[in-house]
Structure formats: structure tokens, C-alpha cells
């Protein structure tokens, strides 16, 4: 394409945005609403995903060792656990260490537990981590059968449910986003279709004097792209300010370790970029789809 032709397409595309007035506003509005929803969903989903992954990674198996076993038994058990294929690490932690951890986790109130230092009711443990979080249950079942094992603690149902929930949450989230995007494309292609009716004469003449379909499509392509970009502005502002607020204010009030949200930088910017891309694609697709019918002259 010649540069002068490209300039013409750019000029025509921009001119149409202004010429179509309220229709432009309607299209941009449709993109804006969609992108705000998609943005909120994405932020929520990616954070949930992040949390889930973290929780998944944190899933460990506590192997409580039978108090009657001697040092030799304990070492043998450790060796056996480490030999399992799916096991990543198996760390020994004596009952004294376990008590210290417990006291620490209770903070100020933990002092009352110090009484037990004389007569520790806890057990020595192996803290086992599976290579793949999803293998946790399998590994735990195997260890249960070993000698010198008193009990295996891994939160059976919690782990299972967590994995299932994550799977569904991801799929449902993706389906919702896809649905929203298609609705927006449909809305835009309809709004633009109305504006094209008015321009169908122009398109007819272009075809008559020998314009290629590609040539006719270009200004619409550019127009759609700008509609998408315009429609992304408000959602991106929302994401950046909203996420900044959450990151700086709400985060501090949540003390549970595992709900660490993704940090503002770079996450909010990455999300903005994704929103801009989705907006552009929606705009272009909606616009180009609506010209198609008029090109069959």
C-alpha cells in the first residue's frame, strides 16, 4: 500500500468517527461497559488463580512419627519417603521445633504454651511436599502404610475440593469473558452497520470505479480500531485507580497470609494492556464484520 493511500484511510477512518456522532458514542459505550466487566473479572480471576496456585503449592503433608520409634526407625522412614517418585522434599522437624513454631504462630498468647516445653505432647514429624500439588493425596495414602507412622495429616477434603473449585472457577470465568466479548462484538457490529447503511451508496460507487474490497475495508478497520481504543480508556482508568486503591488500602487490613493479591506493578499495567488489546480486537472485528455484507455488490 502506498503511503498516500494509508494517509487517506487514516483520514477517512477518523472522519467517520466524528461524522457518526452518537453512533460512535453508542459503540464506544458498548466497548466500555464490556471492558469494565471483563477487566473486573480478569482481575478477580487472575488473583484467585494466583492464590489458588499459592495454596496448592503450600499444601504439605505432616507425617506424625510414632513416639515409640527410635532414631533408626525415623531415619529409615525418612529414606522411604524420599524414595517415593512424587515426593519433592521431606524435611524432618523434631517435636521441640514443632512446639517453637506453634508458640511463634500464636504470637503474644503463645507464651502460655511454653509450659509444655517441659513435657512436650507433640510428635516428631516429616514435612513432605509433593512434586505436583495434585499428587498430594496419592503420596499421603502411600505414607500412611509405612512403619513408624502414627498419623498422616493433609486436610484430605480441603485439598480435593480446592483443586476442583479452581478448575471450575477457571473454566466458568473464561466462558463468561468469552460471552461478554462476543456480546460486545455483536453490539458494535450492529451500531456500525447502521452507520454503514448511510454509507452504502459511497461503498457502491467505490466498487463501481474499481476499488478492491481491501481498500474499502481499511477505513472501517481503522475506525473500529479507534472505537476499541476509545472504549478502553475508561476501563483502564478504572483498573489503574481501583487496583491502586485495593493494593494500598485494603491489602493492609487483610492479615491472612494466603490472600496476598498480585502487586499493583506490574499486574495492573499488564491487565490494562490486555484490556486495550481486547478492546482493539473487539472494535476491529465488529467493524470489519459489518462491512462484509456491503462488499458483496
Amino acid at each position: 500500500m502506498k503511503f498516500s493511500t494509508f494517509k487517506r484511510h487514516l483520514r477517512e477512518g477518523l472522519k467517520n468517527i466524528f461524522r457518526n456522532g452518537w453512533m460512535t458514542v453508542a459503540s464506544v459505550g458498548a466497548v466500555t461497559v464490556t471492558l469494565i466487566l471483563v477487566g473486573a473479572f480478569l482481575a478477580l480471576m487472575l488473583n484467585l488463580n494466583q492464590m489458588a496456585t499459592k495454596v496448592e503449592e503450600d499444601v504439605e503433608i505432616d507425617v506424625l512419627i510414632d513416639p515409640t520409634s527410635d532414631e533408626g526407625d525415623i531415619t529409615a522412614l525418612g529414606e522411604k519417603i524420599k524414595k517415593l517418585d512424587q515426593v519433592d522434599t521431606a524435611v524432618f522437624s523434631s517435636k521441640d521445633e514443632e512446639l517453637k513454631k506453634l508458640i511463634k504462630s500464636f504470637g503474644e498468647e503463645g507464651q502460655s504454651w511454653e509450659l509444655y516445653e517441659q513435657d512436650n505432647p507433640l510428635r516428631h514429624v516429616y514435612i513432605v511436599q509433593a512434586k505436583q500439588p495434585k499428587d498430594t493425596i496419592k503420596v499421603a495414602k502411600k505414607i500412611e502404610g509405612f512403619d513408624s507412622v502414627e498419623e498422616v495429616i493433609y486436610g484430605k477434603d480441603v485439598v480435593k475440593r480446592l483443586f476442583e473449585f479452581n478448575k471450575y472457577a477457571r473454566n466458568i470465568g473464561l466462558a463468561l469473558i468469552a460471552g461478554l466479548v462476543f456480546t460486545a462484538i455483536f453490539l458494535i457490529s450492529n451500531t456500525i452497520k447502521i452507520t454503514i447503511m448511510a454509507r452504502s451508496k459511497e461503498i457502491g460507487i467505490m466498487k463501481l470505479v474499481g476499488a478492491t474490497n481491501g481498500f474499502i475495508r481499511w477505513p472501517f478497520f481503522i475506525e473500529g480500531m479507534f472505537l476499541g481504543i476509545l472504549g478502553s480508556i475508561i476501563p483502564i482508568t478504572f483498573i489503574l485507580t481501583g487496583y491502586y486503591y485495593i493494593d494500598h488500602n485494603v491489602q493492609d487490613k487483610i492479615t491472612y497470609h494466603f490472600v496476598d493479591i498480585l502487586p499493583f506493578y506490574p499486574f495492573a499495567w499488564q491487565l490494562s494492556l490486555i484490556i486495550l488489546l481486547i478492546g482493539t480486537v473487539i472494535g476491529i472485528w465488529g467493524s470489519v464484520m459489518s462491512v462484509r455484507k456491503f462488499l458483496k455488490v
Partner: protein
């Protein structure tokens, strides 16, 4: 130049417009297509710039067989065929200059050539002083000349006119016909569907009469042959 061989055209709604047309038109000819309304004149004309496809038979224009030309090639065919309509088909939001330049812009002509060519054709149709006017500010005859200028601006080998004088008064019609005559004298083939007995009988050219989808008469320096 233009060759039709056993051409049939039946529209999707079942109407048969052409029923076996055979014709051979040479480069530089001036041809009137006459016949009653609904006889198939418009369909005949539309086949030449591939606005319609024949149901059967071959239409060959400039050595291209339009019956099986690829959709992608159609724009390039049309750059060789200028079309003039009864209702002008000008863009009312563009000036005279822009309307004509439009035809060159869409085929990606360089801006310098556009300027030169537009002024040249405006000279040919005698409206060089109206470049900045909008179509609505001009008379019907002037608008038709602009549409002729647009049709010839990219130097097509064929100009097709579908009742170009249908909306114009007799005096204006003669002016338009002179313009066509001049274009034809430079070697451009002109095919004109018309209802004007006066024009056909005065400006003697080849006459092809179509009735019920078939050619009933084909005479050089022919007559209109129908009573109005």
C-alpha cells in the same frame, strides 16, 4: 472487445432476463441498446461490468472471460469500464473535484496525477470552472457530465451508460450526447442503453434491439424503430 456467446440470465426470483444473446462489439464502436422496458437492456449492460453474472454462456470483455473470473479480479476489470447512470450516483458531500478524484484515489493513483487527470476530464466535459461546487448546486445536465467525467477519468476502454439522458430535458441531452461523441472519437467504446428515439434516429450509430431477452435487430447506422 466485447463478446457474448449464448448468454442466458435468470434471476433468483425466476425472471428470465436474457434468453440466448450472441454479440460481438469492436473496440471504438458506439452502440445503442434499445427495446421496451423490461426487455433485458439493463441486464445486458450489467453483464459487461460484472454487476451480474450470466447463468449460462460466456461474456468476454478485454479478453477476460467474466463468466469464471475470480471475485478478486472484478475491481481490476472495472477499472477498464466506466459506468454512467441515469441518476448520476454522485456523492453529495463531496465537491465536483473530489467526486472525480475519488475514482482515482480508490485505484491508488498518485496525488499529482490525480490533480492533472481531474482537470483534463473536466475540460473534456466543459466544467473546468465548477471544481469547488457541490453536486446539489449544479443542474441535472451538469451533474451528468460530472458522472461522465468520473467514468472516463481513469481512461477506460469501454464506457457504459444506462439511460444517461433519461432524467434530462432534450437540449441538455444533446449536450451530453456531444460529450459522448467526443469521447468515442478518441477511441473509447461506448455502449448506451436508451429510450430516446430522437437521439438514436439523429445521431446514427449501431443499434441493437433487445426484446424478451433476445436480440431482434442489429443494424449499423440503425433506427430506433419503436413508436413512443
Amino acid at each position: 472487445m466485447i463478446l457474448m456467446n449464448e448468454v442466458y440470465k435468470t434471476y433468483a426470483n425466476g425472471v428470465t432476463a436474457l434468453n440466448g444473446i450472441n454479440i460481438d462489439i469492436e473496440q471504438g464502436e458506439f452502440v445503442y441498446i434499445v427495446g421496451p422496458s423490461g426487455a433485458g437492456k439493463s441486464t445486458f449492460v450489467k453483464l459487461i461490468f460484472r454487476e451480474e453474472k450470466p447463468t449460462n454462456g460466456n461474456v468476454i470483455v478485454n479478453n477476460m472471460d467474466l463468466s469464471d473470473i475470480k471475485e478478486k479480479r472484478v475491481p481490476y476489470l472495472r477499472r477498464n469500464v466506466g459506468v454512467v447512470y441515469q441518476d448520476f450516483k454522485l456523492l453529495s458531500k463531496l465537491t465536483v473535484y473530489e467526486n472525480i478524484a475519488f475514482a482515482l484515489e480508490v485505484i491508488e493513483e498518485s496525488p499529482r496525477n490525480i490533480r492533472q487527470r481531474v482537470m483534463e476530464v473536466l475540460e473534456v466535459v466543459g466544467l473546468a470552472d465548477k471544481t469547488k461546487a457541490f453536486p446539489d448546486e449544479l443542474s441535472g445536465g451538469e451533474q451528468q457530465r460530472i458522472s461522465i467525467a468520473r467514468a472516463i477519468v481513469n481512461n477506460p476502454e469501454i464506457v457504459i451508460a444506462d439511460e444517461p439522458t433519461g432524467n434530462l430535458d432534450p437540449d441538455t441531452s444533446w449536450g451530453i450526447m456531444e460529450t459522448f461523441e467526443e469521447i468515442n472519437s478518441k477511441g473509447t467504446t461506448i455502449i448506451m442503453a436508451t429510450h430516446s428515439k430522437e437521439i438514436v434516429n439523429t445521431m446514427k450509430k449501431r443499434v441493437i434491439a433487445i426484446e424478451d431477452g433476445v436480440i431482434v435487430r442489429d443494424e449499423h447506422r440503425g433506427e430506433y424503430g419503436y413508436e413512443i
